[in-house]
Amino acid sequence: MSDFARRFLGSRSGMIGLVLLVLLVLMALSADLLYPQDPWRMAGRPNLPPFTEGFLFGTDQLGRDVAAGIVHGARMSLMIGFASSVAAIGVGVVVGAVAGYFSGWVDDVLMRLTEFFQTIPSFMLAIVLVAIFSPSLESIVTAIAVVSWPPIARLVRAEFLSLRQRDFVKAARVGGHSRTNIIVSQILPNALSPVIVMASLMVATAILIESGLSFLGLGDRNFITWGFMIGAGRTMIRHAWWLSAIPGLAIFVTVLALNLFGQGLSDVLNPRLSRSTRT
């Protein structure tokens, strides 16, 4: 592990990403300290540009503090991003592992299912799901998870297919290890690194999807999110550009951070991929 840490510290992109992420998470966690007031509260005169009257990012149409929205929004975006990714990975790993290990008809069925889900345009599906189960935290997280698990499943399956042919797995079988033991303790640990890499990228995608949904007005109206802020600011774009510009930047930075982080992970975890960049 220490070896892992050392190698990660070595990856520049990884470190930049990590630092940015940590900052964002801190910001999200300390939201209530930085802006104890409700971000929906009308705190000042409407449509103040940034850096006026002590409003770092100005105020919106109803005089709400944009900065407060950004900070509290970070919480939602990250939360939704992580929650949905965790769900997606859970499903994906199980499906992929089962399909990959048992192959045969089980594999067929599961892969058809996966392909099916990959065929439906994901964002459209997300929209429909959220709209139909009426926008709420749960429905959004579920929808994002539903559209993002297939790649994981495919990845894990591929890993399993190759790993189960490896001698050490055969050795375990010869040793009479149980299936679960082989899947969980022999194969899975070896299959995980690419999954972890993909996971970090998935969080990023999830955040993008969420912002897209909120932008279309399919967010949970009880919580302030960046996508919502852009959507709300959109109609004001020529009077108060900052209303949509600033939240957009926030999303951009977050997604960028996650991508960089993922890059770093993959440099460390699957050298096979990143080798080509060196030699």
């Binding site: 509260r41 009308m42 007005g217 109206r221 020529r238």
Partner: protein
């Protein structure tokens, strides 16, 4: 507020300018925006905003209305009403032709009100139930006999409520599926030419129009621009000449209004007379408690709301009518102007138990008609919080909203109604106890039940003498305003932005839903 005045001044200014102008000039193209893209322009089968906007140029009613709601001739050049108020006799214009060349006769009117409209439009059917018989003594005369007097009867004869359709095309067909709906045939000043879906609807001058020299314009383009920003830019860049209220955000209106050679008016809504309300479901606690409802009403800073959310367009409303509504009586209304202290006090008096400063947690369902209403909802949410009512925002799509509202599955929802020019028409439906669920979104969805109010509205509809009606409606307004069965948000004002070179754009109560026969462009 300031906004408003300037708008008013502007409109006056243009009126004067219009008079000052010498004779109208003929010719020219008028570029308009219709949004959302209408499902059809066959006004008979559908009266959604966009359909009426376009359809009203193609189809006509027997009458139209002056801003003060007095009827003006249209397809009927004159009419007389018997003293008992039971017989209405309409005398039709001479030499009116349908766009397909067929002559227009009383038979068309009889068919339209006798068969077509009751099938197509429930509001008109509602009124037609009051009619004993419709007869056509001759080609040019139509007689309606009522079962009992109905003061608002004339209201249904405008082009949207009383669309006159060609009998020779629709009789005996499925009026909804009739292919002719694709190529509408009316008597209006403009004829349907082309509909390039997703892009524009093109109407051309009806050279056969019954009114000599009219219309002045050669053609109308209704452009379909699905996005508010895009519409604003289109107007700026001169691609369109007129923006209706709602086409662009009101804040944009102010900006565009300040442009060179552009005018803004809020006239032309006297007929529809829209009123923004907040429905509170009186079947649910604590909303069954009048004090709570009053508290909510006091908690709203309508001035701020109108300025911040509606770009300054609108006027606070404290009762069931607006200043535009006949028989409106500000004297009798409870003054609900912003008073947070009073609101909080009322909550305490109300006797509702509060836990940790929270009296109740309710669902708040904002009207899903775009961002403005979302802001409106967000504002209300904050104010309710102030007086100790927590809300959980339920966001639904149009279908969901309609469904929940009309079936009473809500605590609080924002909404608006058209008062339609006479209390007997649009006002009563929101408060009469016999008009509650599954009767549309403007019905008494809050479940308000007050026999006295019921009687007053029944009587008001029956009574013809204006003086008496005033008394009746004043009392009704007094009671309702005090009970606050709904929270009145504001009298809505839809600003119309247009280029000064366009004259006589809005002269009547239906405003832009007029036929445009008199509109002309200064070359």
């Amino acid at each position: 507020m300031k906004r408003l005045l300037s708008a008013a001044i502007l409109s006056v200014a243009t009126a004067i300018a219009a008079q000052a102008q010498d004779d109208p000039q003929t010719g020219g193209t008028l570029n308009l925006v219709v949004q959302p893209e209408p499902p059809t322009v066959m006004l008979g089968i559908n009266r959604l905003g966009p359909v009426s906007y376009v359809g009203s140029k193609i189809y006509e009613g027997l009458v139209t209305f002056a801003p003060d709601m007095t009827p003006l001739p249209k397809l009927a050049k004159s009419w007389d009403i018997s003293d008992d108020g039971l017989t209405y006799t309409f005398h039709l214009q001479e030499g009116v032709k349908w766009h397909d060349g067929e002559p227009f006769t009383s038979a068309d009117v009889v068919y339209s009100f006798g068969e077509y409209l009751p099938e197509a439009f429930s509001r008109t059917r509602g009124v037609m139930d009051r009619v004993e018989e419709i007869s056509a003594p001759d080609d040019r005369t139509v007689v309606f006999k009522l079962k009992e007097p109905y003061a608002a009867f004339m209201i249904i004869f405008d082009s949207t409520g009383g669309t006159i359709v060609p009998k020779h095309i629709y009789e005996g067909t499925d009026i909804f599926k009739n292919p002719a709906n694709e190529t509408p045939i009316g008597t209006g000043p403009f004829k349907f030419d082309e509909w390039s879906k997703g892009r524009y609807i093109h109407l051309v001058r009806n050279d056969e129009y019954w009114q000599d020299g009219r219309p002045y314009l050669d053609e109308l383009y209704f452009h379909i621009i699905p996005d508010a920003n895009s519409r604003a830019i289109a107007f700026e860049q001169g691609q369109v000449d007129v923006l209706r209220g709602g086409d662009v955000e009101n804040i944009e209106v102010n900006r565009l209004g300040d442009m060179e050679g552009v005018d803004v008016t809020t006239d032309g809504w006297e007929f529809y007379d829209p009123l923004a309300i907040i429905n509170v479901n009186t079947r649910h606690e604590p909303l069954d408690n009048p004090k709570v409802r009053q508290a909510i009403s006091y908690a709203l800073d309508r001035e701020f709301m109108i300025d911040a959310v509606f770009g300054g367009f609108g006027k606070p409303a404290y009762g069931p009518m607006t200043e535009r509504t006949p028989y409106y009586d500000p004297e009798v209304l409870t003054d609900y102007s912003f008073d947070m202290e009073k609101a909080k006090a009322l909550m305490e008096e109300s006797g509702v138990e509060a836990e940790g400063g929270v009296y109740a947690t309710l669902d708040l369902m904002p009207l899903p008609y775009g961002e403005t209403w979302q802001r409106h909802g967000e504002y209300i949410r904050q104010q309710l919080k102030e007086i100790g009512i927590e809300t959980n925002v339920v966001s639904v799509d149009v279908a969901g909203w309609v469904e929940r509202t009309t079936t009473g599955k809500f605590d609080i929802t924002t909404n608006f109604t058209y008062l339609l020019g006479d209390p007997a028409m649009g006002v009563g439906q929101t408060y009469r106890s016999n008009n509650q669920l599954n009767r549309g979104t403007a019905a008494n969805v809050d479940g308000y039940e007050n026999p006295k109010v019921d009687d007053l509205f029944a009587e008001g509809a029956r009574t013809l003498d204006p003086g008496k009606r005033q008394e009746i409606y004043s009392e009704a307004q007094k009671i309702i305003s005090a009970d606050a069965p709904v929270i009145w948000s504001h009298q809505m004002e839809y600003p119309t932005v247009y280029r000064s070179k366009i004259h006589d754009l809005i002269t009547t109560a239906p405003g832009l839903n007029e036929g445009f026969a008199d509109v002309w462009i200064e070359q």
